[in-house]
Amino acid sequence: MVESQSESLAETPLAALHRELGGRMVGFAGYALPVQYPAGIMAEHLHCRSAAALFDVSHMGQAELRGEGAAAALEALTPADVAGLKPGRQRYGLLTSPSGGILDDFMFANLGDRIFLVVNASRKEHDFGHIAAHLPQGVTLHRHEDRALLALQGPGAVPALAALAPGLAAFSFMGIGSFDIGGVNAIISRSGYTGEDGVEISVPADQAEAFARRLLALPGVMPAGLGARDSLRLEAGLCLYGSDIDETTSAVEAGLVWSIGKRRRMEWNFPGADRVREELANGPKRLRVGIRPEGRQPARGHTPIADADGAVIGEVTSGGFGPSVGAPVAMGYVARPFAEDGSALDLMVRGKAVPARVAPMPFTPHRYAR
């Protein structure tokens, strides 16, 4: 996680609520956000896996694309299949550079008359500038800086929220729609960043605090901070932009080829298609893999990875302790000959070799409502 203690941190619409709940505020992507509440990261993490946890993700960038040709315009910037996405459905995609690097990962959804976008907080200025600069006549980008974003995650999330949002329980994973919840216009998608069933909810900023209080009053819901969000997504094998993927990594190296539409892999008309095509044909030099260190010692991001002879063959990009796994977990890039499940590696933690093995991800099974 990229943290900063800048003096000019922005606040989300829930800042006062976080402080009231005892949140320990830290700087993240320019925002003051709770890293944890008094319960602690471990308890918040485990509660999300067993019941439901509420996260404030209002720092993320929300926008919509409107106009004839919006899908084609977005396809000029991403290898994802945008045009083929049915109304009421959301998809994960990558913004790619002409040289095949990843500019950001993002969600896009077909809301019928428009495409709803959610991008990373640390990249939103870049992304929205990039998208706006590449739009044809008739397609416009509208940022939703007046909307907050909440994530209610865990097996109890949809059962609890369905009482307020009739019809939500019929959504499958990546379903999305608009709801009126007591006068609040909520765009709800059945998705998230934890590996659990759950939803992300976009609501008007000025109604967000009252709405969050309603969610916290639902049975089994407790607030959770950035710390649990990071350990949950790591166990789920999900990438954090800036750590696990960036402008140097390709979709093939990152194991994100599934986010490239089948049609797009025949047309090869997206930014960076040459690199993706070459790496698919000949194999990439390195691959993102899951890593299980032996023992209890976590290996954090930037830990060098060595082979049995001590030669550096990769680097950990995210690592920590997995509360649900009950052991340290990590992901990182290794040279392709070492990428097979079970490959023995040494993680060089503070100069000492910690034995580890390449392991399949996710570390905890996804429990999406398929």
């Binding site: 990261i41 471990m42 710390g227 350990s231 209890r296 920590g320 509360p323 340290p328 503070r350």
Partner: protein, 125 residues
């Protein structure tokens, strides 16, 4: 047993006959969060006051632990290997980190007493 003394890095140290026991304060364990691993120093290592000699890993981050005084490490708390959560549950008792043979007992008495440490913590808020 003599009274605890405290460093500005939030370690406590208590003289006990032939040596002194070192751990981290309740304030420190609360700031670190759930401890999942403790990397302890080797017995026999000679450390200087303020030298990083152990690492506490929480779910989120790794943090250095410093020797509050100069001396030699004479014992480490093996119980932390299987139950690092002791640091959170009993920071000033079962969650101790190591015992050392201080080079100069005067270095211990020069550290903060409990009242001074509490004032110091309050001044950080």
């Amino acid at each position: 047993m003599s009274e605890m003394r405290f460093s500005k890095d939030h370690e406590w140290i208590r003289s006990d006959g032939d040596g002194a026991t070192v751990g981290i304060t309740d304030h420190a364990q609360n700031a670190l969060g759930d401890v999942v691993f403790v990397d302890l120093p080797e017995v026999g290592r000679v450390v200087a006051a303020g030298e990083a000699c152990a690492v506490v890993e929480s779910v989120k981050a790794a943090s250095d632990i410093y020797a509050p005084v100069s001396g030699k490490i004479i014992e480490v708390n093996a119980a932390l290997t299987d139950d690092p959560g002791l640091v959170n549950r009993e920071p000033s008792a079962g969650g101790w980190f190591f015992r050392m043979e201080p080079a100069d007992a005067g270095e211990i008495s020069a550290l903060m007493d409990e009242g001074a440490y509490h004032s110091f913590v309050d001044s950080l808020a």
